[in-house]
């Protein structure tokens, strides 16, 4: 009962401080909304990377075929640029407005069909991930275009050998026709690669809501529950500074009960934060946390246990309010960024990914993503939850060892 009284006192203290509303509610929701708006508007309509298309080869079938093949790509979308926009295409790539630009030189079609090999200029910064993606997609489309040209050439040679063309104009017409047919055939090639996403235990007909928020929403949860410690861990430091902790020891309450009361308050704050963010993610962004309520609850509880143990450790180690803020910020940066809350670990380097997966936050992300992305069930979160629990015990032990009442 004393433990609960102490926890309720802490909660009241946190709720009464208007800064808590900012750190625990306003800031996380603002960030989630902001990144949602940024990524949402990027993905709106056509999520493919924009690549400028400038043709100096007017009324040419080959550049039209190239445009069509680029348009068929699932990674890039060509944006036709004319006039001033065409002149500044390369600047747009430099400024990051376009992932790349394809510039078709004058007389391109004529010269390619004549076997002269004019070159398309592709302006792209291959030092960036979007530049690499754009470059690969343009190369794939150009290879298909070259395949169509080769088909037209082989076909014309075969016809020449069998019957012969009446005139050069007839040969050119034949080439153009064949090129158009081959280019069209490439839009629906006979051999394709189809991508299916794993969703192992999702029920019959159940659609997983994979969207841009399935990475960012769990990421924001993990980040801001750690950052929120600057309010709950602050209570401990303020009590130590005002000697309230020492005064408490003059009452019949035991040291264990004091620590338990503070940890309970932190646990409740972190758990309520998660409830709020999960509800927000579910309702505002359509991230389907509630498809496996028990599994999500298990991840939330174990994450709250670890974060409150971390809060106790910060409260035990910090000597001033500034230090609480500093440690909470550091913990947020390190655990969030390295644990995959800011970006998926699979896009990082081998060593970083391996180190990152040692973070408890990486296991929390795994737990959330097993439900919302992989479509798995309760059993899939047992390992992440178990590891989070082990981290909670380790951090709690460390915090109790470091804890001073004076």
């Amino acid at each position: 009962m004393r433990v609960i009284d102490l926890a309720l006192k802490d909660l009241l203290q946190i709720v009464r401080d208007w800064k808590s509303a900012f750190f625990l509610v306003v800031m996380p929701i603002l960030f989630t909304l902001f990144f949602g708006a940024i990524f949402g508007s990027s993905a709106e309509g056509d999520p493919r990377l924009p690549v400028g298309f400038v043709s100096h080869d007017e009324s040419d079938a080959l550049s039209t075929s190239l445009y069509t093949l680029l348009e068929a790509s699932d990674a890039i979308r060509p944006v036709v640029l004319e006039g001033d926009d065409a002149d500044s295409a390369t600047d747009s790539v430099r400024d990051g407005d376009l992932a790349g630009a394809v510039i078709v030189p004058p007389g391109f079609g004529e010269r390619v069909l004549a076997g002269e090999g004019p070159r398309l200029t592709v302006v792209v910064d291959q030092n960036t991930p979007s530049g690499q993606t754009a470059s690969s997609a343009v190369q794939a489309a150009v290879n298909r275009l070259l395949g169509a040209v080769e088909t037209a050439r082989l076909s014309a040679e075969a016809f020449e050998a069998q019957q012969g063309f009446e005139s050069e104009a007839a040969r050119r017409t034949y080439l153009d026709e064949t090129l158009a047919l081959a280019s069209e055939a490439w839009l629906q090639p006979p051999l394709t690669v189809a991508v299916e996403q794993s969703g192992a235990q999702a029920g019959e007909g159940e659609e997983l809501s994979a969207n841009v928020y399935t990475q960012s929403s769990p990421g924001m949860i993990v980040q801001f529950v750690v950052f929120g410690l600057n309010t709950s861990a602050m209570v401990l430091v303020l009590e130590r500074k005002s000697r309230t902790l020492q005064r408490l020891l003059t009452t019949p309450i035991t040291r264990t009960q004091v620590i338990a009361g503070h940890v309970l308050a932190m646990f409740i704050v972190v758990f309520l934060q998660q409830l709020l963010y999960v509800a927000f993610g579910q309702l505002a962004f359509g991230v389907d946390y509630m498809r496996e309520p028990l599994a999500i609850l298990l991840v939330m509880v174990t994450l709250a246990l670890w974060v409150s143990s971390l809060g106790l450790l910060i409260g035990a180690a910090a000597k001033s309010e500034d230090q609480v803020m500093m440690w909470a910020l550091m913990a947020m940066f390190v655990f969030s960024a390295m644990g995959g809350a800011w970006f998926p670990l699979d896009v990082t380097g081998k060593t970083f990914a391996a180190i990152g997966h040692l973070m408890p936050t990486a296991w929390a992300m795994d737990g959330f993503q097993n439900i919302v992305l992989r479509g798995l069930g309760l059993s899939s979160v047992l390992l992440p939850a178990g590891i989070l629990l082990a981290y909670a015990v380790a951090f709690f032990g460390l915090a109790v060892w470091r804890f001073r009442f004076e």
């Binding site: 080769e150 940066f333 896009v347």
Partner: protein, 422 residues
């Protein structure tokens, strides 16, 4: 002289605070450092060292006895080639269900399922087939690489098939007799051409493409400068504005402690006292920006650009950050208010100014315009220009605008403070 004394006292206070040091130097370097380690700095040669993608390939291809080729087996061999060993860890599975379960259980990132009729579809005139990539939805880069590799392989066969089909149609329509040897010849010629194209591509030569870097006003920028320069610039700007506000907070802090009232009883004019506070902020910011730029140049190998242009942009940042700090604090009554208000205003203006999205490419164009509603956005624009090799003339406009904004903010803030302490 008194201005300097006040400024030095405030600077000493800032540099003695562990929290201030963390926010000035550690946090921006730590955040950029983590991103640097994640995306560029942990490879053996300093390059990017991709994690291996675990692939299970199920070859169900059963070519009929009439075919001498087994394209499914060729694909398996292609995937297990040594050239791909640093990207893919390929194991063969015998059963499609097992491979799918391996992906479901995260024992593999991607399962490649080659259908039973793959060779038949590739060789029969009207055949169609699709190779299935079954991937872990939490992975992005690895499955993308696998798809690129498999598509390149499949396009080779698809091209041969398209060539054969189109040639047969065209010749047939014109009454040319088509026999097996003619079609075999077409397929072989196309196959040889596709092989040559692939080899040339692997060696870095493409017959039709000339890849160019986007233009820069000076020499081409390195990967470190291109990627991490913009991220570091965002961090420098965000934490500089934080420093500007927190050093200006000392006015309120001294007011609460009563030391400001004591200062007012001395013969020091109020303008000198406020000037000292602003000078402290200004000098602290100069130290912060210079240290961060030097440290990031050494640690992350960022080439910040032409010194004069960089100095101009940095000066704009320092004045804008110091001015905005005085402006924000002039509206606040206590240090209790300062933390959250500072956090809210600086976080929001940082968001609107584009400081947290410097590493995200191809954002909507309207967002770029919105960035310029804040001083942060103008500083960032100037910084992006110097990073891209811009000179003094390129950064003059953003630098002048940030300087102007900083001066206006300071004048308004100083006016409010003078009125308050009159």
């Amino acid at each position: 002289m008194k201005v300097l004394d006040i400024a030095l006292k405030d600077m000493l206070r800032s540099f003695r605070s562990g929290f201030a040091l963390v926010m000035m130097f550690v946090a921006p370097l730590l955040i950029t450092g983590i991103i640097y380690a994640a995306f560029g700095g942990m490879g053996g040669d300093g390059g990017f060292d991709l994690p291996l993608t675990r692939v299970q390939v199920v070859n169900l291809d059963q070519p009929g006895p009439q075919y001498s080729f087994a394209f499914g087996q060729m694909l398996v061999g292609f995937l297990q080639d040594e050239g791909l060993a640093n990207l893919l860890q390929v194991t063969e599975a015998t059963d499609e269900t097992d491979a799918r379960v391996a992906v479901d259980n995260q024992d593999a990132g991607v399962a490649i399922i080659i259908p039973p009729d793959f060779t038949t579809a590739a060789l029969a005139p009207d055949g169609r087939a699709s190779i299935t990539l079954y991937q872990d939805p939490t992975l992005t880069l690895g499955p993308g690489i696998v798809k690129g590799v498999v598509s390149q392989f499949v396009d080779g066969f698809a091209g041969t098939k398209i060539a054969s089909g189109v040639v047969a149609d065209q010749l047939g329509q014109r009454g040319v007799a088509i026999d097996a040897s003619l079609m075999q010849g077409i397929a072989m010629q196309y196959g040889a051409w596709a092989e040559g194209l692939g080899q040339g591509w692997d060696e870095g030569a493409h017959p039709l493409l000339e890849i160019q870097l986007p233009p820069t006003k000076a020499e081409p920028v390195s990967q470190e400068t291109s990627i991490f320069g913009a991220i570091m610039a965002g961090m420098v700007i965000f934490f500089a504005f934080f420093t500007g506000a927190s050093t200006a907070e000392t006015i309120i802090l001294e007011d609460e402690a009563g030391t400001l009232a004591r200062l007012f009883t001395t013969p020091t004019p109020r303008a000198v006292i406020l000037g000292g506070k602003f000078a402290a902020s200004f000098m602290t910011l100069i130290v912060q920006v210079v240290v961060l730029m030097l440290a990031s140049a050494i640690i992350f190998r960022i080439h910040w650009g032409e010194p004069l242009a960089v100095s101009l942009v940095a000066l704009g940042l320092v004045v804008a950050a110091a001015g905005l700090g005085v402006f924000i604090m002039s509206f606040l009554k206590s240090t209790r208010q300062a933390g959250p208000v500072m956090g809210t205003v600086l976080t929001l203006s940082g968001m609107v100014g584009g400081l947290f999205t410097t590493g995200i490419p191809n954002l909507p164009a309207t967002y770029g315009t919105i960035n310029l509603l804040t001083p942060h956005g103008w500083v960032l624009r100037g910084w992006k220009l110097v990073l891209a090799g811009g000179g003094v003339s390129d950064v003059l406009l953003p630098a002048l605008i940030t300087l102007g904004m900083g001066i206006v903010f300071f004048v308004i803030g100083a006016f409010i403070f003078r009125k308050r302490f009159a």
